[in-house]
Symmetry: D3
Amino acid sequence: MIQEQFYEDYEIGFSRRTFGRTITETDVVMHAGQTGDFFPHHMDAEWCATQNFGQRIAHGTLVFSVGIGMTTSTINPRAMSTGYDRVRFVKLVFIGDTITVTASITEKKPHPKRETHGVVVERIDIANQRGNTVLVCRSPVSRRASQARQRLAVPS
Amino acid sequence: MIQEQFYEDYEIGFSRRTFGRTITETDVVMHAGQTGDFFPHHMDAEWCATQNFGQRIAHGTLVFSVGIGMTTSTINPRAMSTGYDRVRFVKLVFIGDTITVTASITEKKPHPKRETHGVVVERIDIANQRGNTVLVCRSPVSRRASQARQRLAVPS
Amino acid sequence: MIQEQFYEDYEIGFSRRTFGRTITETDVVMHAGQTGDFFPHHMDAEWCATQNFGQRIAHGTLVFSVGIGMTTSTINPRAMSTGYDRVRFVKLVFIGDTITVTASITEKKPHPKRETHGVVVERIDIANQRGNTVLVCRSPVSRRASQARQRLAVPS
Amino acid sequence: MIQEQFYEDYEIGFSRRTFGRTITETDVVMHAGQTGDFFPHHMDAEWCATQNFGQRIAHGTLVFSVGIGMTTSTINPRAMSTGYDRVRFVKLVFIGDTITVTASITEKKPHPKRETHGVVVERIDIANQRGNTVLVCRSPVSRRASQARQRLAVPS
Amino acid sequence: MIQEQFYEDYEIGFSRRTFGRTITETDVVMHAGQTGDFFPHHMDAEWCATQNFGQRIAHGTLVFSVGIGMTTSTINPRAMSTGYDRVRFVKLVFIGDTITVTASITEKKPHPKRETHGVVVERIDIANQRGNTVLVCRSPVSRRASQARQRLAVPS
Amino acid sequence: MIQEQFYEDYEIGFSRRTFGRTITETDVVMHAGQTGDFFPHHMDAEWCATQNFGQRIAHGTLVFSVGIGMTTSTINPRAMSTGYDRVRFVKLVFIGDTITVTASITEKKPHPKRETHGVVVERIDIANQRGNTVLVCRSPVSRRASQARQRLAVPS
């Protein structure tokens, strides 16, 4: 569950894949309730049926949050993401779609400010049950290099 | 509630600001429950008290989702965001912090693929009750130009 | 749990009182999420602190819904309320207040349309931990008279 | 989002209409969880199937709370409702029904106690996707007259 | 609602039965969110469809918690359960199944440590809509004998 | 995340320990809402203050469900628990307590009915932030022996 990993331990091309998770009506209703976004695109089945997309759409922030959450099960608990780049909603996600996330290391580079760290960039690819990508983003994470190794303070 | 606005109607420098919203323990617990991210940074008050940040931290995706949700109250319901750029978690948000969102138009440019559209870029700035920015991102939204005006299909 | 009671079985002056229930921050946040009412009066602790009421207020519909729910534990499951009269928010309810509900029969009268039924009016009085009434309403319920007695279809 | 309006600004006959919202199984389960009303009418699909109504019914307080919540998006944030009159559950709402709310000003009258205020009465009409009214009530709101105009303290 | 009952008041063979409750997708999603158990057995409809059980399964702890909760409506509020024996998941519960709980007194015996108390054992049997048992357990509850009678402190 | 392990792979004495998790007011309110157990012991802070335990108590089934959920992060996803023995609520858990779970293998024995399987018994010990055990139970899990090895069908 806790994996101490240093900058050198990450390899470009390494890829991990999560379990699947079905996006349910409950997820959409609870996300509306958390964010306050009750737009008819998410909440009004009757109106959606009159639109070209035909049915209620999961919020982009729901797909993003759940997808990112799905990738957190095995990573280093000390790695607090500092952001995301080029988050793109590629395809709509509907109630009943099942998403799976693939996180792949696509880049490693020096840290712009800290000599003891490097930046590891993961590409996050969220796909639906038909294998179509629905959301992509890049997640640059700053990682300590091992010469700076010191015991990580994590809950034992 | 529904505002039909075209590419020409957006002006660089225009800025809108939301009400405030206090990020509660409930928000953090429900967001853990929605995303599956139960890392001790968000869920274990005892362990957090032993760390330099000292207390439980709101998930980055929670602050992002709530902040984006807070901006949706007045925009055009047809505008489905196609993504976000350079999402940066600038400061930690703790339980009890109150966030407010400012959305400012910072850029207008031709659409890369569609002649009848332009891209309006909003800078989203989420600040806490002390006026410190906690999260920023850019939200490029494709907008139809008025010469292509046609009646928007929205729920009457 | 199931109590078959007829119009004649209700006596003016009969009063029942529920357990107490503390209205929590969770209740307010979840009610905002269910109803979409994220007004700063309920959600923004900072702004509330600048107002004369000083702190976040429970939604009127939250106090009403919880109070009515608290009275449902012992009544006849066949009695589906047809409405409420003169719902009045007498005092503000804040996070941490504990409410208790007293339901008292104040009136019995013939049913306006059905000879076999009568109307029993309960006065619902929701009070806080200081014994101050925070919400009142009247609940007129149509009840069958016993000459029309027939076996109630309830889950055995 | 914030609209400063005085007693004189309201006109009898003015009507506004909300977006639609589909009442989901999630809404019913969460409302049972918030209110503690787990009666089989709302929670037991098997038993409901043996009754003349045939399926699970949304709680009256759920339809009322969501409907009132749907009307709060554009009104004056300072207007704190002091109550509701003649709340009537006209038709059952089932899981999957979509409700829309129309609020119409039906009456204006002097305030019984305050010379500087008047009372504006809105009729709230909640209808399902077939256009049938499912719940009605009257919402009398006390409004300041403009001669008493003073700057409203609202979150900027 | 409050029933003061002593050890002598319980009779072997006495049985009570609850209303039914349909286990919904909402219950499963919320239970995952409460417990952090997002295993694909509960959350991934696509993968479940490839397994011999064919569809998402309610968590064992969900069925247990809801079933126990269903029995609490009429018992003595002072009786705080000290545990459960031989909790057995006999059959899978799927989304849409409706459970009903039967609690039967199967044993009475002296308390191992307290002379003024006895132990009353209830067998909890949770069945689905086809009458098949899905979960059983035994609930031994310590009960005061009446010779030790004293006024119970319960909320009036 | 997926660990294929056979009966022989489990060793008596092996022990694993989870992160901590703070039991919040939100957890208690949501668990009441999921189970329908709104007893004043969990919901009425005023009344609790008059009792010897002094404050609201987490439901036993909440502590049990969360504790079991906390242990599911690293076990074999195919292992569907068939039950729990001697679940004992040793100490009360209050809002704000932080629990940690230790699962230790205490027993291995032949399966009563299946030659190809054995039973591995884990002792689950849930402790609070002071190191006091609050709940214990035994979890006997049937495990296949390796001579019967066959490819596990798990989501890739």
